[in-house]
């Protein structure tokens, strides 16, 4: 089973517990600027939106990497091999979503690797805005909600 982070911005309160968890796991310190997941505050629209790598099937970061430092594991996760990464940042340009970023402190790029199957951000989220679920069922909760909303029979009843 392949799993993915499923993000529901409607539930996010902007507390950044995900950024704190991610940065501690990856950097050994509470440091949101190094978090692989980031929460954006669209204040005037009253929306907080967490965003991170979605582990593209055909990953442009991977295809652009000149040293083959980005590999795909059995679960579809794109991992950066620090021994091969030369810090050229081409992947940061290739990624359409901006979710691969350069870390000045190490000279390597950093991105979400789903923490090897137990993503710290999802565990840390207090409102279930970030869930880690089967990719093939990722939309089912939304479908269920819409199924109920659009059920003509119930609306007539």
């Amino acid at each position: 089973m392949q799993r993915a982070l499923v993000i529901d911005p409607g539930k996010c309160t902007g507390c950044k517990q995900c950024e704190l968890a991610c940065s501690y796991v990856k950097e050994g310190a509470f440091n949101p600027s190094k978090s692989r997941i980031r929460v954006f505050d669209f204040h005037q629209n009253a929306r907080f939106v967490p965003y991170t790598c979605t582990q593209c099937d055909e990953a442009w970061c991977q295809q652009a990497c000149p040293t083959n430092a980005i590999t795909t594991d059995a679960f579809g996760v794109k991992n950066v091999n620090d021994n091969l990464c030369v810090g050229c940042k081409v992947c940061t340009i290739a990624c359409p979503f901006g979710t691969v970023n350069y870390n000045v402190a190490t000279g390597k790029v950093i991105k979400c690797d789903l923490c090897g199957g137990d993503p710290a951000c999802a565990s840390a989220c207090p409102t279930d805005a970030i869930a880690y679920t089967d990719v093939e069922q990722a939309g089912f909760d939304k479908m269920q909600a819409w199924a109920q909303k659009t059920d003509a029979g119930a609306l007539q009843a």
């Binding site: 902007g14 968890a21 501690y24 190094k34 629209n45 929306r47």
Partner: protein, 615 residues
Amino acid sequence: MAWMRKLLRVNLTTGNIVEEPLNMEWAQKYLGQRGLASKYLTEEIDPKVDPLSPDNKLIFCTGPLTGTSASTGGRYSVITKGALTGAIACSNSGGYFGPELKFAGYDMIIFEGKAEKPVYLTVIDDKVTLQDAGDLWGKSVWDTEAAIKSKHQDSMMHIASIGIAGENQVLYSCIVNDLHRAAGRSGVGAVMGSKNLKAVAVRGTGGVKVDDFMEFMKTTEAGKKVLADNAVTGEGLPTYGTQVLMNVINEAGALPTRNSRDVQFEGAHDISAEAMAEPSGKDGKPNLLANQGCFACTIACGRISKINEEHFTVVNKPEYWHASGGLEYEAAWALGAATGINDLDALTYANFICNEQGLDPISFGATLGAAMELWDLGILNSEITGGLELKFGSAEALTAAVEATGKAEGFGAELGMGSARLTAKYGKPELSQTVKGQEFPAYDPRGIQGMGLTYATSNRGACHLRSYTVSSEILGIPEKTDPLVTEGKAGLVKAFQDATAAVDSAGLCVFTTFAWTLEDIAPQVNAACEGEWTVDTMLEAGERIWNLERQFNNQAGFTAADDKLPERLMKDAAKTGPAEGLVSGLDVMLPEYYELRGWTADGVPTNETMARLRL
């Protein structure tokens, strides 16, 4: 660990900026934030200094847990001698500014002196620079944040600034960060304005570490579970925000109404959390759009709201049609009940203006309530107010007054003095609902007796956040006490004051204490910090901090005679509700309190008390 062990000292007169090691001996005695910065302030300034003179200092300080994943670990405080009160001021704020300062590598910034021209400080990791603020002066908080982010091409900066209220040294102007979180009370914004300091903009890329990570994760996870499982922090505050209290306190007969003439407001429901959630306006959306948590907060009591576009306050002002920080309970009370106004959209607008221009809505609303009583008595008239009709219940008056007060224009300049100075000017000082010059908040001491002692003895002037006995007296946390009696309240207030001082100094939010006791908090602090942090050492630190603040105020010229409540609360009985017929029993509680504190009958800590607390 947890502390960054560094502070910045910025001399605005000379432009000199130095980095100093944090005094870790003091950190072990005063923890951080409120306690530690109070220690620095009291060591460095003359208590008799004019708050608005260059000799006063302005300290921004975080706590050891600020910037960590402990729930609510995102606070900072501004400590100075208060412009409104002349007492020690400590105003606490959330949002994201405090953690960012630690990510840049600093626990604290001490501002000294006064800049010749308007300036702002940028702290971009270890690059710390005073910048010209000539083009920012005159801008609102909202425009200032946008302008600084744009100028430095960094949308990730977190900024604390003053609006035009602080520039004009309105005596209850505040410092606002992240658009709508504020170090709100006692006029800390006026002190910043007096120093020609417009803003502090911070960006940090470093991290905060803790002493024992595994233990920290274990204790903070346990703490988060306690918050999630608690009825107030897990359900009431997330669902309704602090506004959950409006109907509760009104029913308890403790909602100060129309400058405390009444203790219940017939319009309470119209301005309550429940009303915020009801559909309104042409799009059918409610006033409340979303909940917001401050940094690391798993409670998320913050509200993001909007004003009905057809409402008279904004119908011709599309710039206010967006969402922003919405009403919390104290603001809704002050702007609404204290003035007798039940128009939710008008309150939301006034609250937006308070955030935008940097005004404390508690002191503003309560001062307006006092002015409305002066109007009602015929002492103020439209000749004096420049056409402002200050009738109780008038949303139009609220709207015009809040705009004029920020700008210090016309009668707004008089409203900006606060209710103590305003009522004294017009010969009715007894109408001011203040202690030590600061307007009291949303709990009437006739209906919640412990809050009378809380207000009277608060070191920063009347305040609910120094000992929130409402917890016990109304909500039954940690155990229910009778709000209408004075028995046991001296001990209750002292216990709450000491514990709260410790929580405020750790970097945590006091709202956690609806669910947490120090039994929950001390292990988190202990895992993060060097030293031995137990319930006992934290309580002792809290008591030490309380006495340090008291000592400063005594040296500043305050005496036991200042530990008193407005005449109305002592003489005019509550007219309705459960407290009908009651006045405040402060006279009974105060001597007992002094004794429990180890103070003389004149409210001065004895030598034994000072020695016991190693002061």
